[in-house]
Symmetry: C2
Subunit: 468 residues, 2 copies
């Protein structure tokens, strides 16, 4: 007699009277007057529960069955039968019940069968995976993760583990976490207050930080193996606690040699399309659940993405459009300024009513490594915005010309001392190359309708909060 997951039991045709063993936790239960108990069992393999029927004979044998509560863990041996009720096709009639784990003081158990608010569940993040909504998010996250790697593999990209600890103190405006040895407090104060920043005191011989992007390291591999990507955690030390920011999040970064801006836009579009198609095909019950939970019609959202044409607009044209649209924006629109969320919202949700790709931003608001266009004012960059979320992907062609890269480093006050190796890629066999980055939790928010990014990652790390 084999152990079977509930997903397998419910998905596959199993002949009546097949003997089966399942393990799981009780979602809900009721005891009838006729000494028959009905348990709804979950094991995380799918959204649906399996109905277990425990008859009088077992009750007589094991009186503690009556003390079971929601959350208890059990092993059930039994036979599959057609269900009489219309809530499910099949059910498991128990021939043996083993109680594995009780709920200590059931009235204090934080997870009850009723719907809890997401705010409440954040305080019990170690138990929230037991709810329907976090089960659904976890399964969708897994399918996205798996499909992402399959997509990259099929397109011939190699996974490269870029470093998390870095000596680059910045490549833009992001605040970074600083790393030191786990000295006891006395040592920290002694070492640092003397202000001897001579390298000896540092574990790595110099200051070390947590990475904000693996791109520069990834480029070294793109300039040797052509098509590469990285997927790993990245970090921001911003003092912001909003529903859009995490201090630790996962990022996909793609880098393709011998490619230009348009090539990378096509790849990014194909990637998003593929992810959405697969989720719609493989995660229908979980998307349905998330749709109801978020009161956002996710099928409509995702099918709109697939069916609508994606709009393209130059940054300069976007600025003109925003200036002439007579909307009262909080933030002034001007050429050379960054686009704010309200501007992006207007473009994708009101004007185009579709995903939109904004291209060729001014060089002054973009990173030093983006390729300077012939106008000497803009760089070969792109952001993909989607309705309801805003920016989901950002990318650019990289500056492959050594002399211009050097100028851009100077303009940005970035030191040759660190970037010598990055310049070497342009010194030796340079090639045009381009890449994009995608915040994985952003994509998950778009697909699940979750509105707070803290619910898109199992254990969110944010300013002033590092529980669990």
């Amino acid at each position: 007699m084999q152990t079977t997951s509930i997903s397998n039991i419910l998905q596959k045709f199993i002949p009546e009277n097949t003997k089966i063993t399942v393990h799981g936790w009780i979602r809900t239960l009721r005891h009838s007057k006729a000494k028959i108990s009905f348990l709804d069992l979950y094991d995380g393999s799918c959204l649906k529960t399996l109905q277990i029927v425990i008859g009088e004979n077992l009750h007589n044998y094991k009186s503690e069955i009556l003390h079971l509560t929601s959350g208890c863990s059990v092993t059930i041996c039994g036979k599959i039968v057609k269900s009489i009720g219309n809530k499910q096709d099949i059910e498991l009639v128990a021939t043996n019940v083993t109680i594995l784990g009780w709920i200590d003081q059931p009235n204090t158990y934080p997870i009850t069968p009723k719907k809890h608010s997401l705010e409440y569940l954040r305080n019990v993040a170690h138990l929230r995976s037991r709810t329907h909504i976090f089960g659904a998010i976890s399964r969708i996250r897994h399918i996205l993760f798996q499909s992402m790697h399959n997509f990259m593999h099929k397109k011939g990209l190699l996974w490269i583990p870029t470093p998390i600890i870095t000596a680059a103190d910045t490549e833009g405006n992001s605040k970074m976490f600083y790393l030191s040895e786990n000295f006891n407090n006395k040592n920290i104060s002694n070492n640092i207050s003397t202000n001897q920043v001579n390298g000896e005191q540092f574990f790595f011989g110099k200051k070390a930080f947590l990475t904000v992007s693996g791109q520069l390291n990834l480029e070294t591999y793109a300039c040797a193996l052509s098509k590469v990507y990285t997927f790993g955690p990245t970090f921001r030390a911003e003092h912001s606690d909003t529903n859009r920011h995490l201090s630790e999040f996962w990022m996909l970064e793609v880098e393709i040699a011998f490619s230009k801006l348009n090539d990378i836009i096509e790849l990014a579009k194909a990637f998003l399309t593929n992810m959405i198609q697969i989720v719609l095909e493989q995660c229908t019950p979980d998307i349905t659940y998330c749709s109801n939970h978020s009161q956002c019609n996710l099928f409509k959202r995702l099918e709109n993405f697939l069916n609508n044409k994606i709009a393209y607009i130059e940054y300069t044209d976007a600025i003109n459009l925003l200036i002439s649209c007579n909307k009262n924006f909080k933030n002034t629109v001007f050429w050379g300024g960054d686009l704010f969320s309200e501007h992006e919202k207007y473009l994708s949700e009101e004007y185009f009513k579709s995903p939109v790709i904004i291209m060729n931003y001014p060089k002054n608001i973009k990173a030093f490594y983006m390729r300077l266009n012939d106008d000497n004012k803009t760089v070969a960059s792109m952001d993909i915005l989607v309705p309801g979320i805003g920016e989901i992907i950002g990318g650019s062609q990289r500056e492959e010309r050594l002399n211009i890269l050097k100028e851009r480093l100077l303009e940005n006050n970035l030191s040759n001392k660190y970037y010598w190796w990055y310049q070497d890629l342009r010194r030796y066999g340079t090639v045009p190359h381009s890449g994009f980055g995608l915040g994985f939790e952003r994509l998950l928010i778009y697909i699940t309708g979750i509105t707070n990014i803290k619910d898109a990652i199992p254990f969110p790390r944010v300013f002033k909060n590092i529980n669990f």
Copy 2:
């Protein structure tokens, strides 16, 4: 005319005279007296290079072709023809050559076509991916990575991103990296030298560290979704610079609810077997190259793994065996002591001459979360050793009994203040569960024959070294 990767050109039957465009870098080149040039082109998609033939007509048109050197990047349009030479089946006769990037001062270019030592290449880690050996390692790493996720997906495990930043200051004996905000030096000294450790000074409100393992967080998801795994970077702040240690490395961790020690051993064996089979099938040229490079017969090593039975031995029996074998070990063998590398070597390489699984170690040398056996002296743990490497996988059944877990935390001086949530998993619907961990670079070393782990990760982070 489509761009094609060299791997596709060489693997697929392409009719003669097909027009093709390829991009790549020159590995080697020679110019014949008859004004014909032969370039060996690589693009990272496979080990082999594509021979490009440039005839007199093109030379007359583009005199700079004669100045090309190893490492230059080019785009070649041309026609596929059968090769006259016997070194390759086909070659590309160029109809157009576009030079994309030169080598600045070719005599200073750190990567020449001759074989460089791995030690030398570590100093040019930003360029070493351009060599045969690092290309081979990168492609094998990718196939391992991809196959690992496919294996987990097929077995029904969900990927869970466990946190990198953690408030757990230790769960064992590993030294950890301490995290702070990127204050400027003045602020660091001011803040820390006052010794006000009241939480206000910390970004997260309390001390934060880089994780040494995602297991405890992963268990929360196993106790809800049954089968889960995590794959991410982990960190050690040990002051050791050996060929077996990294400060930052990638770890696979698996956690399965309703499973016992033997179940997890079977899963770990199936995993290793599957990884080795796939690499042997899909990476033959790269394994061949690594085999020659390392002067270790990797096919023999890997086929031995597949063909030999894996030996099982209890820790207690292993100790008795090591005591009675009359070997002069440097480290004394006694019951209750850890096994050293020399002991593991003897067991797997001399005594069993096969992989060996050692089970049920004394509780005092293992982590608090391992399940106490009925003898009250040992825990339900296992290490898998392979010849040539030593330990490659470590795992255990986890302590699911709240009262015993509490005792073990006490014995290890671990605070309830942090571990309350971990105990909750045993308080509410506890289940037997087990898991294992595998150092990804360790597996890569085993499969590629590389002897220094610094060559198994693109940008190694080790004590006193954080270049690139």
